[in-house]
Amino acid sequence: MTLTIDTHNLAAEAAVSAPAGTLFRFATAGSVDDGKSTLVGRLLHDSKAILADQLEAVARTSTERGFGGESGGIDFALLTDGLRAEREQGITIDVAYRYFATPARSFILADCPGHVQYTRNMVTGATTADAVIMLIDARKGVLEQTRRHLSVVALLRVPHVIIAVNKIDLLDYDEAAYREVEASVRQVTAELGLGSGLPSEVHVIPVSALVGDNVVDRSARTPWYAGPSLLELLETLTVIDDRDSTGRAIEAFRLPVQLVLRPQGAVVVAPELADSYRDYRAYAGQVASGSIKVGDTVSVEPGGGTSTVTGIDFAGVALDEAFAPQSIALRLADDLDIARGAVIAAAGTLPPVTRTLEADLFWLDPRPLAPGARVLVKFGTTVVQALISAVTGRLNLATLGAEPATGLAVNDIGQASIRLSRDLPVERYRQNRRSGAFLVIHPQDGATLAAGIVTAPGEATPAGDGSGAGSEVSP
């Protein structure tokens, strides 16, 4: 047998497989018991994504637990609440990923927990989502968890938010009652600035997850609602909003270097080609944003060097252009000192390097944060030591404004000033969702303490001030 890595034609593949870029990721959010898991089960069931043996197992368990009622005796939440503890307690503890497809597109859905205690898992589901479906129990309206989750959605700039006003069956499909809930939600989303920028629009839908109204099909019981069903909406939302009208990425090119490919003769190419690959050297990584062409000029940080792209390799296929989120290997004309942790960017687009930044932090660890904490931060493929020099505020969920704070507790969303041990080209999350996001990591036990997003890079390090020096932490 010979080793086969087929040099398939990417363009041809894109043409045959339904509309390209049709993988759509969404997550559920909302307070506990608002119906997230039931909605997900209903969506999977009504879009025929549940196979016979799964349905049989769920029906059996539902009957054992005496579940009755409108859904034909099936507790749809059991389709995603797969852990023993979840079934025993009737709650969702961690994100469940489910997969389904309609003729329009394929979906990856993350069913998230509602409990405050498990907010870290909701944030996990939301960071990769193209859309968040925010569930609200129509009888209860906006709760504290609703506000917390909506704040997460707003700060993470999830491209789309859909508010599903659920359990509309329990309001007897009454329009006036629905409008009241809708108005109070829209007030909160407006206060959070949702609907301007990312997410660009707030969609509100009256649904009954249990009965199925407006989930897959539009319901005859809500004649006063003229909008699309939830699934129709999911099928038509654009995948990301950082594209121009022709679909081209508008963010500047960024390639965080994962590793340097330098096989030094230990190559898998045909023997007669082996010689020409002896000096092969390329920088491997996943394009975080933007696009790049052979011949483009790039700059590299740390170091500030510039060079020209001489080749873009994708496992034996030479591309003349690459874009996010392709995993590629980039060849450059010049022999720059580039290692893991470097960022290769479109020339002149990287911000000046700095050692300080202001950030929003989603504090996810039970151990509270006190100013002065020494931590690690991970940006792209770089890990550096850092110091949280000050906590400058905390989000008050009642007022949705900042209140003074001296530390952060688990599930708090706060603002902090951070000092880095090394110069980094720090970017605002607002400008670039990939480069502006980071992890805060415990230096000893390695726990992920917080999700961070840069709100403002600090003052630029003056040129010649030891750029690139300082301690980098090897993993």
């Binding site: 040099t7 390209a20 994962q258 590793l259 096989p263 898998v268 491997a284 296929v317 993993p475």
Partner: protein, 309 residues
Amino acid sequence: MRAPPVTTSIASHRLSELDVLESEAIHIIREVVAEFERPVLLFSGGKDSVVVLHLAAKAFWPGKIPLALLHVDTGHNFPEVLEFRDKTVAAHGVRLTVAKVEDYISDGRLVERADGTRNPLQTLPLLDAIAAGRHDAVFGGARRDEDKARAKERILSLRDEFGQWDPRNQRPELWNLYNGRHTVGQHVRAFPISNWTELNVWRYIERENIELPPLYYAHEREVYRRDNMWRAVSPVSPARADETVETRTVRYRTVGDMSCTGAVDSLAASVADVVREVGVSTITERGATRADDRISEAAMEDRKKEGYF
């Protein structure tokens, strides 16, 4: 340097579903190889591990795969799968270590189960092999669509020194920033194709022209009916007196132990046939073919907590 063969460009700047999943997997593989000292890839010759190996080859092209391979052999594997495993390992020029459940049974460290199933016995040899190889990261081909416990697991899943998974206390996994930090004794399981479905895997096998063991395709075999599945007649899984042996055209959707993996009736002889068949299947892969997962609703979760894959 001579340029590689094909040059392409996509005007729309949008990737197809398979291309997105492929790049995601390659990113994960490269992250783990870059951040860990001694990663190892679990390789059984089954379709998911074959796909992960193929992705690893792409991730490091034109270099060789910088990974050791490990297989926990229950002693009940299909001979044609083992043959395929060894051929594939040789073609990629990688080193394979085989940990044998048989060795553990013969010296008493493990005891044969009453039902004869050896899948649950794999955990101990696996953990021993991880410790012996001082592996800090272990790649697996598990997918979240396989089972409801797997549906909950992170792409990088932290395990303690007993290999245990604590589903109530998983590390947050944010954006595509993977945190592989761990303390002495801990290791990380990495699942690059977490987000792939069975259909994605088959479409990818078709697109990339990836070779698989022949029993994934329709063939004639002597089988008998047990637990609503077609079981192969073999030395480790003989038919009982009350079971009728017949020759049928079948294929396997998963390949595990001969003693607990069932075949399905199928005429799908080519990869295109299989893609079509999987696309219209009404039963999940594990539901159709794995007796070991039917023990209870939480069978997979229970085994994972004990260090199973």
